[in-house]
Amino acid sequence: MSRFLLFLLIALPVEEAFCQTPQIDATGREIRPPARVERVYAAGPPASTLVFAIAPDKLVGWTRAFRPQEAQFVDPKYAALPELGRLTGRGDTANVEVVLAAKPDLIVDVGSTRASLAALAASVEQRTGIPYALFDGRLDATPKALRSLGLLTGDQARAEKLAAWLEREIADIRARAGRVPADARPRVYYGRGPAGLQTGGRGSINVEVLELLGAINVAEDVRAGLVIVPIEQVLLWNPEVILTTDPNFWRRAWTDPRWGATEAVERKRVYLSPHLPFGWFDFPPGANRLLGAWWAGKVLYPSQFDIDLRAKVAEFHRLFYHREPTRAQLDALLGEPGVLPR
């Protein structure tokens, strides 16, 4: 017995040298990464963007390769990282062998923390022997995810800086939105997809930006998650503002007489969210949606959001994408038809 205790006493410090103190991820699982994390595999786009923000040189690859128009916003050496596929979610395109071949010290996923994903994390961790941490991807939980991620990868200072900045930005957006009088809040419809008939109810990850802004989502009472609604239902809601992420739908809204019957089209208040290099308003559901919140705040509540959107974009890109967009890039992002009121 005493021998065993002695063994433990000797063994423990050795164990310490190989492993950090364990972290608890959002699903309550204990994560024990090696003391020095040099290579991180991000299992989905939201995780990629966060790892890229705090430790770009540790990211082993993207889940989906950059398209040329996306790649112009990041340093070519990062844009050229290999495409490894997703490990989680509906796409489930990553081959575990590809992940193993990338030799990560840590696998990270950010997004939903529901039981099926927690089980997937546990199973991949068991099969590969690589620690797999899962963090809550809601926009207001992102500062916390950044800090936890920083602890795991050993980039606490950088993570803290971004988390604190993000917290201030979110608080600023909340405060501005909170000052909007009730009668100045337009009824908003968020239309996705080429026909604009996909939308999200209260609690959908797709409309988190609207919820952060305290905006009135006309589809609030349909069930959470992505759904298709009949156009008659949209006409019944008669939104004052339509926001979309789909350029095809944005163009269609002006010529289709059915959409023409909505107040939003009559008053020319249909806006298209920018989508480069990552979408602003809805997807991927990562920190990139902060820009969507500033943008939507500006088009919904112009007097409370009398901000310099170009400066916001530049600052966000500098912090999270490590490169400020050029003047021409900013012009292109914000000058795309439909992004801002004329």
Partner: protein, 335 residues
């Protein structure tokens, strides 16, 4: 006592009643009075005092959608009827030669490339035609087999190939944006029908229907063994190409605007056959009316029973499965 005229009259009456009902119901409240005053003002050319949205709902939303349901239902039922007769097989549906698979691949490719709706429809339509063309070209070159069997088997095999191509595109698609759009397209829906869609699809469906109607008596002979048909002076090969071309044109045009809607082309020909028997000349018009009524009924449910759209394929399967089982268990009518 002849049951046939009764069947036609009854189904036309049902279709008409459903159309009237479909104009009257929906998420947007429109009263019967408003419908009639709109109708009156359109007929007399006078002004009406209705809110602008009421006119939009009736003329731009419900009208095109009702017509689309009628066109799609009739086209799928007609194609199914023709194929079931030609293949002498009760389990055949319009997509047996790969038209739906080809259309789906075309549409999925368009969504994958972020093309707009018009291009999605065009690629779906073209995909359907190309797939069947390919199946026919390959199937008719397989010598030494029953030509129909060769065609069906080629259809199944190429259909599987198309399915894998679709799976590959789904696998590569952006999971937040493109994948839901692909999934919704594959489920089928009349939710985004516009008058323009209808004006493109309806003439194509008509172009497929007219030759089929003109040849309806001769198509009966395709149900006979080839040598017997030939003895009666029918060039079965040419007639078969004709039927396949017409059925494909109709199905591809329908699927391009509606997405994949199963069961209509399988179920309705059986239901019609129960009423009027296997003669193609009598069967085709009745199947079309029944297909139109069935699709219209289903679509009206899809857009009214919940604040969200219900995919029509779900309802057609819910209705189709028990009906089909009942048919096989109890209906003894030969065909």
């Amino acid at each position: 006592m002849n049951a046939r005229p009764v069947s036609y009259v009854a189904t036309v009456a049902v279709l008409f009643a459903l159309a009237v009902l479909a104009f009257g119901v929906g998420r947007y409240p429109v009263s019967v009075g408003e419908i009639f005053s709109l109708l009156a003002s359109k007929l007399t050319g006078s002004e009406h005092a209705l809110p602008a949205n009421v006119e939009t709902v009736i003329l731009q939303v419900r009208g095109p959608r009702i017509l689309a349901a009628v066109v799609v239902g009739a086209a799928l039922a007609a194609a199914g009827t023709a194929y079931q007769g030609m293949f002498r097989n009760p389990l055949v549906s319009p997509d047996i030669l790969g038209v739906s698979g080809g259309a789906a691949l075309g549409a999925v490719l368009a969504i994958f490339l972020s093309l707009d709706i018009l291009m999605t429809q065009a690629l779906a339509f073209a995909g359907g035609l190309v797939a069947v063309g390919l199946v026919y070209a390959v199937g008719s070159r397989l010598r030494g087999h029953d030509p129909l069997l060769a065609l069906v088997l080629t259809g199944v095999i190429i259909g599987t190939l198309l399915g894998s191509a679709i799976a590959l595109l789904k696998y590569l698609a952006d999971p937040y944006n493109q994948l839901p759009a692909i999934t919704y397209w594959l489920l089928g829906s009349l939710a985004s029908i516009t008058p323009r869609d209808l004006s493109a699809a309806a003439p194509l469906d008509l172009a497929g229907l007219v030759p089929m109607l003109l040849l309806r008596w001769r198509i009966n002979l395709l149900a006979l063994p080839d040598d017997e048909a030939r003895a009666l002076g029918v060039d079965t090969r040419r007639l078969r190409i004709m039927v396949v071309a017409c059925a494909t044109l109709m199905t591809a045009a329908a699927v391009a605007i509606s997405g994949i809607i199963g069961w209509v082309g399988l179920l309705i020909p059986h239901a019609a056959r129960l009423l009027v028997g296997p003669d193609f000349g009598r069967l085709l018009p009745l199947a079309m009316i029944m297909g139109a009524a069935f699709m219209l009924g289903v679509d009206t449910l899809c857009r009214t029973i919940a604040p969200i759209e219900i995919p029509p394929g779900v309802l057609t399967a819910l209705i189709g499965t028990p009906f089909f089982l009942w048919l096989f268990a109890f209906a003894r009518r030969s065909w």
